[in-house]
Symmetry: C2
Subunit: 391 residues, 2 copies
């Protein structure tokens, strides 16, 4: 169902293209180097893929110079794996270090590479700095605070448009999770705790070839659910519940992010109606997702269907977002995001509506923008709300 797995990693040409685009943008912005500290940023330019980032102990740095390959400034423990990437210049220190956890090594590297030039590092929305604040202050004081500038707009622009090789990985994990969701009738049943339902779904994704299921949230309740970010409860699923699972499964470092809804035993009219409205909202978002349209256009297209049906929105703050190396990336499908869609952008369409009282329903699909319109990466949710009845 999910097709052959794409090859792991990327050819060097992929990284050469990324670097060339970055260095072009750096020249325009007047940056002598980029300083990157987070997992997706380091991986984007190096191909360095490890779960070791889950340990907050050690900082990791990548310096992208104005010309030439990126330079890794990393703890010794990471050197064997970094040597397998396309990088040549790998500088290491014994970390953790009691007083100088890479700061001198990084300062020297940036001094060597930038002279007196500006250093771009992400400072804007959806970014963070993954190193101790105290060490960042030491770095900026040593090199001159005024030389550090916000690289968020540049990084955002580079990463928003995906290559075919990236899209292939996202499509693959979307296919795997679609298959897992399509097995809903065998995975979920009345009387099962939500926590067991989550475990069953994760195990199915792994069985079907997902590397991991780092994100799985959801809810269940009569006719709808209360929020979309809760961990699973031990409460058993009851007849008339709407069960929703929203997953970020991963293949080779790329995410899917979509959900599915199921009626347990039966579904009431409010749930069926919400499903119908959201199905049509996604259709409208899909039709609007063409090069040249803005994120606001997609938001309005989906919002229009929900409003026309008399539904207040479900208050999740936006109706979709970018997707790729992270579960959520720029842009945001909101009424204020004027990002213009380009071929290669991967997005989620995620409309929500109230069902009964304060309860909500959320749909989500993943798409890629192509020259002639949108292409689905997930296999579409059924037209009618699927109702799971005991075998």
């Amino acid at each position: 169902m999910s097709g052959k797995a794409p090859e792991r990693g990327f050819p060097t040409s992929e990284y050469e293209r990324r670097l060339a685009r970055a260095q072009g943008a750096m020249a325009e912005a007047g940056f002598a180097a980029l300083l990157l500290t987070t997992e997706p940023e380091v991986r984007y330019f190096s191909g360095y893929l490890t779960q070791f980032w889950q340990s907050p102990t050690r900082p990791w740095f990548l310096v992208v110079p104005a010309s030439g390959k990126p330079i890794a400034v990393i703890p010794e423990i990471g050197a064997p794996l970094m040597r397998k990437t396309w990088l040549d210049d790998i500088r290491t220190w014994a970390s953790p270090h009691p007083s100088d956890d890479g700061v001198t090594l990084l300062t020297d590297c940036l001094r060597e590479v930038t002279g007196e030039g500006a250093i771009g590092t992400p400072m804007g929305q959806e970014s963070h700095l993954r190193m101790p604040l105290r060490d960042f202050r030491r770095l900026t004081e040593a090199l001159g605070q005024e030389r550090f500038r916000d690289a968020s707009p540049m990084i955002r622009k580079l990463r928003m448009v995906k290559s075919e090789a990236e899209i292939e990985k996202i499509a693959h994990i979307c296919g795997i999770a679609s298959s897992a969701f399509e097995a809903g009738a065998e995975l979920f049943h009345e009387g099962q705790s939500l926590s067991d339902a989550f475990r069953a779904f994760k195990r199915k994704c792994l069985e079907l070839g997902a590397d991991d299921v780092p994100y799985l949230v959801g809810g269940a309740g009569q006719g709808g659910y209360d929020d979309v970010i809760s961990p699973p409860s031990e409460t058993p699923l009851e007849r008339g519940d709407v069960l929703m699972l929203d997953t970020g499964a991963v293949f080779d470092g790329y995410f899917c992010d979509f959900d599915r809804n199921y009626g347990i035993g039966e579904a009431d009219d409010a749930a069926k109606r919400a499903h119908d409205v959201l199905y049509r909202a996604v259709e409208a978002g899909f039709a609007a997702a063409r090069p040249g349209a803005t994120c606001r256009d997609l938001y309005n297209a989906m919002r229009g269907v929900i409003a026309e049906a008399g539904g207040a929105d479900g208050d999740v703050g936006r109706l979709g977002h970018g997707l790729g190396m992270q579960l959520t990336e720029w842009p945001s499908l909101t009424d204020f995001d004027e990002t213009v869609l380009e071929p290669g952008m991967v997005l989620t369409l995620e409309p929500a509506t109230r069902t009964v009282g304060s309860r909500i329903m959320v749909h989500e699909e993943n798409i890629v923008v192509r020259e002639d319109g949108a292409q689905l990466l997930t296999r579409r949710t059924p037209r009618e709300l699927p109702v799971l009845t005991a075998g």
Copy 2:
């Protein structure tokens, strides 16, 4: 094998105790408030548990005042779940916001709570700031940069000693992962790709009751492996390989972190010897882990066994670390960490040694320090390197 699952969450008294200890330490340090931005810090004081932190889009803030309960300053999407915690004062904004992603709300809250007083926020080793740097600058400029001080030593001290309820959760997940590892003979076999071996292990942990297996790294190679942070390859396991899996599985937000080694089909003398040396190194670390001993003492105890056996260390940078809400926490078992052990500290003992050439072997067990010495949380690895033979 893994016993009954502990109840999820904590009674309010647990949070009251944490808060009282924090406010005592704040009074000593002269802090009018703590500003917390990362998942474990926010969860420690609020009980707020969600995988939604995986989305980097939105910042989340917790303000701990000098007296009274913590105040949550969070995106609206998180309010329903935050209302289920013991907090009363929950302030929200519609996030993502194009120009003010919670900064004004947070500034006002800190102004109200602190007057002109000092604000502690983690800035030291193993910490990071999970909000855009640009927004942090706006905040510190609005309130006065000099008022922001490093709260890392205080947070570290508070969180290093675990309550019995925390230890119970860690013990439970250690038991689950121990059972999964003990099923090694049914999970792993010659000819299997490492990637499939990883999937089989994760599925077993989920089947046995783990909420998640967010961390799983490892390696395999003739007589040893190259590093301990690589993702799994597609290379099939071969006779004579030493297979190692190192897992951070989770129950109710608490981690285990340990590994197991297996010989595939057979094991050579170097591998058997390394296993013996590391087994004895853990015994020595375990015996040294008593209240009053320092982390350096544990390091030296383990290092001594490895050195006596003529083995160079395996260069992973330290021989163990703290464990709890994060896969790795303070302290570090190194020759420079003089942290004095106290009852309630949960640690990993993680000695490493070379086997052949540049290849290494790593052992790891999890312990809690008690009044009268260490207590194992994992079920000990077998005395002899387990060799998995077909059928």
